[in-house]
Amino acid sequence: MVAPVTGDEATLARLMRAAQAGDRRAYTALLEEVARWLRRYFRRRIAPERIDDLVQDVLVSLHTKRATYDPARAFFPWLAAIARYRWLDHLRADYRGRTSELREDSAAEDSDEDVVIARVSLDRLFEKLPPTQAEVIELVRIEGCSIAEASERTGQSQSLVKVNIHRGLKKLSALVEKAN
């Protein structure tokens, strides 16, 4: 019987080590907790209807790359690096559909782990971008605005919006492990 899991660093690192050793129960408990953590992690950084897809992609990546977790190191920075990598994949994906307005996820509750999330958060990545690039990425790739709408709202020409999205995503790719 696996004890109820709390999503703290030590517990998840222990579960991950057990999962690498083939402990199925520990792995199930880990994946459940990671899925919850990821939903909070991606909150407001991806359209709400896309969160499940993204979380599932990260879980599959975690599974296929679970050998890359070094048991001597902390768990959350490893998970966050994989989460950021997959999140950027989703931002790069052609995304033209309009999304509903981003909203607070009422199911998510704040906890002590917010400190951890803050340290490895996606906001830290955006802080490294010039405001002009961060603004258009948020509008077009996260909120689902068209290029024309983003151009109108930011005052940037449409071609500049495209260039700034391209440059911003390229820069984010190089920063996945940084911005701690």
């Binding site: 979380v55 599959v60 296929t64 070094d70 690096a81 950021r84 490895v120």
Partner: protein, 212 residues
Amino acid sequence: MNTPDMRSLIDELAEDSAPVLPMRKGRGLGQALAAFVVTVAVVLVLLGVRAGLMEGEFSAFFVVTNLLLLLLGIACTLAVVAMASPRVGAEHDGPRWAMVMAAVIPVAGVVALAGHAGPVPYHWDEPLCVLFGLIAAVIAGSVQFRWLKHGAPVSPERAGLLLGTGAGALGTVAYGLSCPFNSVIHLGLWHAAPVIVAALVGRFVLARFLRW
């Protein structure tokens, strides 16, 4: 609360929870070191050791070149092995400084070439250093490529660049033990070229195979 879809995915993944061997840094570095030793052995067996190496008959620039390239190779190898296990907070800045230092080699070669009075000394087999350096780089870098391929590099372009640079540097050092030339012009041009070529191949070709 996890949705039914999520629940189902978690169950499927857990079903496949076979034990895995964690990719510890020490194991990766051990493999990279073994590959370098094999590279040196292959070079010495097939091409032989350069005349006078054991007797200390080589130029100071020969020593500087190979030490700088070795340093570059080590710095890149450390970064490549670490990049297979990503984590937010990792810097991998060592290779940058090693690259700046190693840039002294081609700069010295170009300066020496520009300042050379009279016809530039040239031997027909000098360009072969590029070829042999690259072949040695393939041997030295193949293990690192495999390590990265199994790993989860989150900056494939950078990982490819460092893989190519490091393999090129280590391959050139290994081949350097056999190369008979001592001049600044030769070492600065023909021993820097394989590193640059390997770096470009790593950045623009190998990086594509490192995406996951």
